[in-house]
Amino acid sequence: MSAPLLSVEHLDVVYDGTITALSDVSLTVAPGQVVAVLGSNGAGKTSLLRAVSRSLQPYGGAVTGGTITFAGQDLAGADAADVVRRGLVQVPEGRRIFRDLTVAENLRAGGYTVRDKAARAEACDRVFDLFPILAERRDQPGGLLSGGQQQMLAMGRALMASPQLLLLDEPSLGLAPLLVDQIGEIVTEINRQGTAVLLIEQNAVMGLRVAHAASVLEIGRVTASGTADELAASDDVQERYLGVAVPVVATEVVESEPAIPTAEPPQRLRVEGLTVRFGGITALSEVSFTVEPGTVHALIGPNGAGKSTLVNVLGGTYRATEGAVHYGDAELTALRPDRVAGLGVARTFQNISLALEDTVEDNLLVGRHRLMRRGLVPGMLRLPGARREEREHRETVGGIAEMLGIAHLLRTPVHTLAYGDRKRVEMGRALAARPSLLLLDEPVAGMTHGESQEMAETIRQVRRDLGLSIVLVEHDMPFVMGLAEQVTVLDFGKKIAEGTPAAVQRDPEVLRAYLGAAAA
């Protein structure tokens, strides 16, 4: 075996001085090899790539331990531009093409480091060979390309530097199965032409199909590694990423008095014929379902299925193009987001949206905003009423913090908290609004297995103690299986299945959406 092209040893990465993204991660890529790194959202895959491509700094991250060696040279001290000149090029997650630049200009930017005209022309020919569509649309702005074409452009742009090692970050994200297969073939072809590839993937099927070797990353640690075939066969990987063979525990519906009564009893949520278009793209198409009062209803689907769009419509942030959403008698789709919140609909955000400089207590109090009555002037003058109100609400959020196990953090500024605690604070803020309907957008993304079990327990408890309805958006199938009474599955903006968790899990459409075309 030849010397490895890329060798990562005992790597630690920390963001903002407090949040550990990677610890003790090691892996190697041999020349001409395709290596896949698998893992769910927040596992640290992107951090690994950024560490290798020396682009952590703009995101507030830093390598705090370990070494990265490329082609025999330590990369410590090199910056992003040096790394590119040495032949290591990254295709970032989400393609990140330059939308206002034409296709040709995008490619030109990719070949920025290549001074030799002939070499550049050659690279360009190679890219147009691989992606004929790019040659066809070379003078159009990148923003006009479709999602798949943008992915091709992003890869072509990276190939313009004729790298020895190509880093691909989630190339299949949000693409249709057919396109995913096509991208897989292209990766194989690029590799056949002599370029080594480090492939970061959430889609385990795609990753394991094209890779020679793979590692599984979980919460910043490598939990499994081996050849692609070995990993594909391991039970652990099957369970974690393919959602196969998980025992389904039916949720017991415990009837008990809610500890903190909701402001209003939960209502029925009816989504009818909902369609959302952005420009020419249809994000949701004719989606209908109903959430019964007091139940946990899961919305699942692969990345890019339209789940987040749906949550944003429910919360009033996005407008529906067609169709309507009713909560009880109120038509949510006709209301501003703050009015929706006023009806007792609270939500959390996929990528946490807290006031980082403020304390946990102040963040929780924001949730109480709609329930507090004292306006500007009494607050300014600290009139007795306003002081009393403030005190009472502080007590209430103290109770909520207690329930979520973050009472000891109330006086701590949020920016010093760990990721899992921030997720909890966000949940607490939503609960502080005393909702009758709670929208949870990927509540366990980036959590360890243990943490997500805890979160599941918390969600159960909340449902039981507060007697509210919960719409749970997740792409992690195993997580929702033990929690939800009803599951709606979205793919490409369409509802493809609905029913109990057990029924949905066996649905062939769902299997195809999750496991790729080959699995069905």
């Binding site: 491509s53 910056d79 992003a80 531009a81 090029v89 939308r99 206002d100 030109r108 930017a109 920025y112």
Partner: protein, 297 residues
């Protein structure tokens, strides 16, 4: 009729000079996210260098020194101060530039004194006549140079690696650095370009029909702010359109002041650019050609 034509031509030629300054604002803003409140003193600096040097080394060499000096000062401000800001935020950067402006402007004002420093431009006070309309040669030349300058900018930004790299860096810095584009270099180039454009504008603003270099020239950069804003923060073509629009507005409001005075009050020429700017922003909140993303600062 020829009066109107003359005012229009006056306005357009002045507007083109303004657009040079506005383009400088836009380039610095897109390449480093800085609202450059010191741009006016860089305009003044370029003209000042030409004025003090033309006697000893001749006008054209002095122009070269002026352009280079303005560019260098811009690059140095970015490298020494902007990149070392404690909080790298747009508002802190803007205030930093105010501090720089105070220092530069005070020193230049002290050096200029109450003299009106002449530039020694070879075109002197001559005029060019088109039929019964006459325009100062300096203005005609300014229009020509500005058109050439914008042609060169267009070539740079669409036909050279550096220019494409700069646009890529402006659109998405982190991603551009993944292509091996050094953001420090594109930033420096942006500041240098803005400095050169400022110095060119400074030369035309201080040669005939203006008498020479006086500290008030620095204020002309403020006149370019409405042009920049209404064109769109991140758009060089927007700066050209904005400059022309503002130049035209000022010239017409001034030229017909006696007719407008009863409705708008006297001295409306000073306010008109800002009124136009506010109206345009109300209709198009990101300016005429600005991209939506640029709003998120």
């Amino acid at each position: 009729m020829s009066y109107l034509l003359e005012q229009v031509l006056n306005g357009l030629s002045y507007g083109l000079v303004l657009s040079l300054i506005a383009a400088g604002f836009a380039i610095v803003f897109t390449s480093t996210g800085v609202l450059n409140f010191a741009h006016g003193s860089i305009v003044l600096l370029g003209a000042y260098l030409v004025a003090v040097l033309h006697d000893s080394i001749g006008f054209w060499p002095a122009v070269l020194v002026g352009l280079a000096g303005a560019a260098l000062v811009g690059v140095a401000i970015n490298a020494v101060l902007v990149r070392n800001l404690a909080d790298k935020k747009p508002d802190t950067a803007a205030i930093l530039m105010l501090g720089v402006d105070i220092v530069l402007l005070t020193e230049l004002t002290r050096r200029i004194g109450n003299q009106v420093l002449t530039l020694g431009a070879p075109w002197g006070a001559s005029v060019v006549r088109f039929g019964d309309v006459s325009l100062p040669t300096g203005r005609v030349l300014a229009a020509g140079v500005t058109v050439v300058a914008f042609g060169a900018l267009w070539y740079l930004f669409s036909r050279t690696d550096l220019g494409v790299g700069m646009r890529a860096a402006a659109a998405d810095g982190p991603t551009a650095s993944l292509m091996g584009i050094r953001l420090s270099r594109t930033a420096a180039t942006g500041w240098a370009l803005a400095g050169v454009l400022a110095a060119v504008a400074g030369i035309f603003l201080t040669s005939f029909p203006a008498p020479g270099v006086a500290p008030t020239v620095a204020l002309s950069a403020f006149a370019a702010i409405p042009a920049w804003v209404l064109g769109g923060f991140d758009s060089v073509p927007g700066a050209v359109i904005g400059g022309l629009l503002i130049g035209l507005t000022s010239a017409l409001v001034t030229g017909y002041e006696s007719d407008l005075e009863p409705f708008l009050g006297s001295g409306f020429g000073e306010v008109a650019p800002y009124v136009v700017m506010i109206v345009v922003l109300l209709v198009r909140p990101s300016g005429l050609l600005g991209s939506k993303e640029a709003v998120r600062v």
